[in-house]
Symmetry: C2
Subunit: 198 residues, 2 copies
């Protein structure tokens, strides 16, 4: 069409969502405009607010609109257990699949020097501090078993040296090279229960 217009702008903007191609972006735009404008208005409002207000928890670095996330702030969680994950989405997967009641630390990725991701990008100083300040008895590494994930786990084992923290790693069942968040819940629960000492 000659004039792109607001409708086409909406279709184009929807394509920033992962897994949304031109066809489904168009379907989404038409659906909202023809059948659910209130939902579209609500989504636009929540999305704008989330982009501004959601930051990182200062203790575990998961996404949170508060300085301290709900999990870190909860007195019901066992603060002697610390599960180290790559992404906030891994926390959601673990919470849904297991009965883990400890706390978390979110790396935000894996060590990958070629991509410019070093210890600083993963906030490993903050993790080192957490492991050495006392209170944590076990750190469970729930990191994808890729080459970079293994290097990251190895590095964390190094920074834990001299602390009383026992480092374990979730084990059996996570497919090699697999992304943690794509693993089914049963497999993940099994891997969690079968974690081994590093």
């Amino acid at each position: 069409m000659s004039n792109p217009g607001l409708l086409n702008e909406l279709v184009a903007a929807l394509r920033c969502l992962p897994g949304v191609g031109p066809k489904s972006a168009q379907r989404m735009a038409f659906h909202l405009l023809q059948r659910d404008r209130d939902a579209g208005r609500h989504l636009a409002r929540v999305m704008a607010e989330a982009m501004e207000r959601i930051g990182r928890c200062r203790q575990c670095r998961t996404l949170s609109e508060h300085a301290l996330c709900a999990t870190c702030a909860s007195p019901k969680r066992d603060a002697s257990l610390l599960c180290v994950v790559e992404q906030p989405s891994d926390i959601a997967a673990i919470e849904q699949a297991t009965d883990y009641r400890g706390l978390y630390f979110v790396l935000g990725g894996r060590l990958s020097p070629l991509d410019g991701i070093g210890p600083e990008e993963l906030h490993l100083d903050l993790l080192r501090h957490r492991l050495h300040e006392g209170g944590v008895s076990e750190a469970i590494l729930a990191i994808s078993p890729t080459v970079e994930g293994s290097a990251t786990a190895h590095y964390i084992t190094g920074i834990a040296e001299g602390s009383p923290v026992r480092i374990t790693r979730i084990a059996h069942g996570v497919p090699l090279g697999g992304e943690l968040e794509l693993v089914d819940g049963g497999t993940l629960a099994h891997a969690f229960a079968g974690r081994t000492h590093l």
Copy 2:
């Protein structure tokens, strides 16, 4: 989690999009927050604006932010041809698949008395006026070949009586009971070229 929070609100709001389940809504939220906040801000802004500003073209009733849509306003389109479709998305499909250069009329659905969709809901008075005011020589019905679609086509043939408009219907290739917008472009182009006199 105890406190739903803004992140969970965003995940829930994303589920208003068609085809988006809990898993993909979560993936979308994390993607925007971790990797593309600018795109998220832009999408939120465009979506809010689209929900407020996009209405219906007063002539063809497609979605448009202007009183007269770009197609109706274009002097390059052949105003003697009028293609009657169910939804605005059908226009997009026809524009992409065929070399049709006429104008459109969007019904917004099919006659379905049991669902409370009668001639008024489909703005058939506006279509009647259009057919009788002169200027249109052929009206091409590009309506899904379902029971309700056939009833709608029959009704339109009726309101065209006494006008000089020749009513045709797109034919071969559109699968029976199929939704027009799901048909591949080649089939649609074929059906368009092979339209028959009603």
